[in-house]
Symmetry: C2
Subunit: 638 residues, 2 copies
């Protein structure tokens, strides 16, 4: 096995400059297309008007075409009668040509017509050329309609046609070929249920969609196996085709099969190998036969960020467009965000408005976590020179969604429950308010409320002394905040066991059996509190449980442990068991509440939340999930 | 001829509410499409993951798969040797499944391999599950991927595939039929040079492009003549087709041929007839067979604004999308903007950044002037309750272009010259700085410089006493500003005469002949100053000229007067004569300069302007236009 060595590692600005300089003159050819189809395309040269508009003096109003002089002196106390029968004044419709020697239109609303319409009385004069659109008033033949490199908008299409230009010369769409490589990859179109060890190839689809939105014509080859000669053959074929740009996308398995850089070097030139960004470091920028060839990293988030940084700006420039700068906003950072120095880090964030300022919450790292990119509405770039940002600092974000949507986002944190997803769905169905939830545990949510970093915290903290939920924690941690406590659901916690419950686990007492291996949740989690409470009630000794000290951090991780056969049982919610096809033995029911600062209850977004959870439709959807009761949903505990 | 009577005139918010309420439940059906093709579409319901990702514990790094416990204690001063030959540690590539009973990966970069790769020495321990992506770490089967009404982005496509969803249920694209009507309209595809009195139909093209960008499928019928039964027949046919929305677009000739409202009332119901907006007032909102039918005004700007206000939000809602709010910015208004009370006015504006603030300049009014919409980069809405805005006030704008492009805009005002269009083209070819020019005459430009409302003013003001240009005016009006004066071009002024010069006009003296009718420019224009100077030099009496008192306001209007045969000759620039095919007799040459506040010379945009005008390429393009000399182009007069 070889270590990964980057031949020519560069920081992002330098890598972009090397690439841009090399392909400065690399623009697509010109093609002439119908103006009607030209919206969204870019002019290949200056466009001039062939005809004037209007092409004749035209009435701008419905009324009487007159000589302006014939109306002079008309006033309320000195009306003038115009002779229509004798054609001194003539009816005219908007857009119609003015008769010769008529130079103004009197609006029909300002004329008192005789019964037979042979005369008309006016009480207002018109000045010469009033209510007339003169030749060339809008467009003068030969004048510049659009400069070079102009992105044609829908109204521009009307201007082209009006100026007599049925066709327009535009830049051809750049052609891009995307080659997915990786022996471990399968195409979901070939196999709906990939065998163990195989990964569904998805990068070619997302890169295609990005390139398509950037105005390119996209070709995707079948998946190429990790074989030096095979990759070389297909890469050469793509370069020799009519493709303008070739992207070779590694499988997430790089390692010993990472041939791309060698092959590009052999067939052409490697300009940059490795960029000091994370994700996106294994990017290769090269050139073969004067065509740009990009080796794109395999992890989905890396692939997308690398593509956005290098390929999209290239596609824009090839069409004569300025690469679009991101929309910037500033926000308060909800958590500490340490970062490795020496590398520019792109962190995906969820941002929303709390009071007067935006607040931004980091999603988890991980180049493989595509859902962090689909859930993020903003990006925080931590420069290579920084070792991170501290909680509460004012950071600069790039927005991935329209500002309005970010302003409308409801921030929710704390413990997670599936009913929040349901709530998000209901909100999207009937309002402009998306719910963005992050999971930091119940206590983490309460602290976020304290620090004014969230609208809503989900919490299920049992007070073993009182048997009540959340209230005593609020009293302790949120003394200085006036909060509402609203019940969302009751939910079953139970044992997740292997299908068929082969160990026949029925109660907490079974956990103490010698033939049972247990997997626990971490100390401080709501579920751990619950287990300890159940053990205490039954007067059982935790230390007698095999595996009491083995901890996992999520319901799902517990379920995975059971599924793999390493352990026999863990405590968690029904949904986690169902997700992995495990059986579920109910143990107890717990209350899951929403904590909301009272000042937010008047927000339209929060009002919508409270309205939704009280609807029968929502409650039925919750109950249908199984393991839930809505008997107190919407109840104001505080 | 009938007066136009609006049956149910409404202000914009009320009209929108009536329309929205009526079609609240009007959404498109669901269709299932390939996830790979789904970017830009909207989910028809919640989408849940079918498979988990990863679907197995996978290596997150290239390296050695180990039991974490086997690495415990490894440190710089206590290296541990792992047995690779005996499979205590096993080589693994990123993305590949972890062997059973291995729970961590040691990065290959942290391993010192023996020559034969049978052992590896490590000096750092790994914790359990380090460098491993666990089952479901990214996506858990059954979890919510996307809620209803979610606009699918390119990364979302990757998430869909990764979660094992090859298809996704989305809202069908709404189908819209657009019916252009108007006896005076011709299709540019049928006749490249429309006969006099006919107007090129362009609205169907711009509305199509707008609807297409809004995600609709568009059908455009041929142009329908203004005939009651004919329109009724075609409208009914469209309503009975599979169209979800029907738009009937009047010709610009409304008046006696305005049947639409009657027909909608006869076949269905008119909800709103007339909206108190300008442009866009003649909008009709109706319903036939429970389908929305919109009567769209005929003038291009009215048609577009009405379509944007009513049809685009409808198309968005039909697909489960929130209509997009405009991007807002504030700017200082460069000129007084009076407005008629009682009607909400949409004014097209050009906006750019001057120093610390945005400055916005109104383009001319006129519902027929499509070029005001293609040139505008922003819209100012003057509410019905207002009688306008005053110069210097801070107004709210809706931006039509990305903010970045507006910030980059170079504002230019004053007298117009065709070389500014050329400059605009050169800037677009090689920079991100568009040049936006408005025309207020040379003196108007100087006053805009004084008030800090422009970057550049174009001026050709002759001082008859000195024979010099612009300098004495700057001394008089710009005492308090430090400005640069830079020559752009010398240009020919001359007589525009009918083709073949039938009156044989050779010099100013010919203007005094009895058989010659002259058309003049307005007092105060640079061209009028020039004529008076020429007459004085030749010692000729202006009062002896037929038509000296007849004034036009533009070069083009003078040319039109000559072309129509009403007059024989006028003074103007070569380009205006060429535009209408007139002959041109050169009279004199004048200097056209750019006035630029010296502080702006350091801006990248202005530096680019000054660089361009000094290039040979630019000068050649200017000279090629005819009537120009670039012998002093770029010369710093001040």
């Amino acid at each position: 096995m070889k270590r990964k060595i980057y031949l020519n590692m560069q920081p992002l600005p330098k890598a972009r400059q090397i690439f841009t300089d090399r392909f400065k003159q690399y623009i697509t050819d010109t093609e002439t297309i119908a103006s009607r189809e030209a919206a969204g395309r870019v002019t290949a040269g200056p466009v001039t008007a062939r005809l004037s508009a209007p092409s004749f003096h035209a009435a701008a109003m419905d009324g009487l075409a007159v000589r302006a002089e014939d109306s002079f002196g008309a006033a309320d106390d000195s009306p003038i009668t115009l002779d229509i029968a004798g054609r001194q004044a003539r009816f005219i419709n908007t857009g119609h040509p003015m008769p010769d020697d008529r130079n103004a239109v009197i609006m029909i609303e300002h004329v008192l017509l005789s019964e037979d319409q042979s005369t008309g009385i006016i009480r207002t004069a018109v000045y010469p050329w009033q209510n007339v659109r003169k030749v060339g008033e809008d467009i003068v033949a030969t004048e510049l309609l659009f400069p070079s490199n102009h992105l044609i908008t829908p109204p521009d299409v009307a201007a082209l046609l009006t100026a007599g230009c049925p066709e327009v010369a535009v830049r051809k769409k750049p052609k891009i070929t995307i080659i997915p490589t990786g022996t471990e990859l399968v195409d979901l179109r070939d196999t709906l249920n990939p065998p163990a060890g195989k990964t569904i190839e998805s990068n070619s689809a997302v890169l295609s969609a990005l390139a398509d939105q950037a105005g390119a014509e996209v070709m995707v080859t079948p998946i190429i196996a990790d074989d030096y000669e095979n990759i070389k053959k297909h890469l050469m074929k793509a370069v020799q085709s009519d493709a303008d740009v070739v992207v070779i996308n590694a499988g997430s398995s790089a390692g010993s099969a990472d041939y791309t850089v060698q092959i590009i070097g052999e067939l052409g030139e490697v300009l940059v190998h490795g960029v000091t960004i994370m994700p996106g470091k294994p990017t290769i920028l090269g050139v073969i036969n004067n065509k740009p060839v990009i080796g794109n990293p395999g992890y989905p988030v890396s692939a997308i960020i690398s593509f956005e940084q290098f390929v999209l700006p290239l596609l824009a420039r090839m069409q004569g467009m300025q690469p679009r700068d991101p929309v910037i906003a500033h926000a308060l950072l909800a958590r500490d965000l340490p970062s490795k120095g020496g590398i520019e880090e792109f962190r995906r964030m969820i941002t929303g408005r709390i009071g007067d300022h935006l607040v931004t919450v980091p999603l988890k790292k991980g180049a493989g976590a595509i859902t962090t990119l689909t859930r993020a509405n903003s990006i925080l770039r931590i420069p290579a020179s920084s070792e991170g940002e501290t909680r509460g600092s004012n950071v600069e974000l790039e927005l991935l969604r329209p500002r309005q949507q970010i302003e409308n986002t409801i921030l929710c944190t704390g413990s997670h429950d599936l009913c929040l997803d349901l709530l998000h769905d209901f909100l999207k169905k009937s309002s402009p308010y998306p719910l963005a939830s992050t999971h930091v545990g119940s206590l983490g949510g309460i602290l976020a409320i304290r620090d004014n970093m969230t609208h809503i915290a989900g919490s299920h903290l049992l007070d073993p002394k009182t048997g009540d939920y959340n209230r005593s924690y609020i009293n302790r941690y949120l003394k200085d905040r006036d909060v509402a406590l609203i019940t969302l659901v009751y939910r079953q916690q139970g044992f997740m066991v292997q299908p068929g419950n082969p160990k026949n686990i029925r109660s907490v007492a079974d956990l103490l059996r010698d033939d049972v291996n247990f997997i626990n949740r971490q100390a401080g989690s709501g579920t751990r509190v619950l287990l300890d409470h159940e053990l205490e009630k039954a007067d059982l000794d935790p230390d007698a449980i095999n595996g009491y000290d083995a901890e996992e951090y999520t319901h799902m991780a517990v379920a995975v442990s059971v599924l793999s056969g390493k352990t026999d049982v863990g405590l968690g919610i029904l949904a986690a068991a169902r997700a992995l096809g495990l059986d579920f033995v109910p143990v107890t029911e717990e209350r899951y509440d929403l904590i909301i600062p009272r000042e937010f209850l008047k927000l339209a977004s929060i009002r919508k939340v409270l309205t939704i959870i009280e609807t029968e439709e929502f409650k039925q959807a919750v109950e249908a999930k199984g393991g839930y009761s809505t008997r107190e949903t919407g109840n104001r505990v505080l």
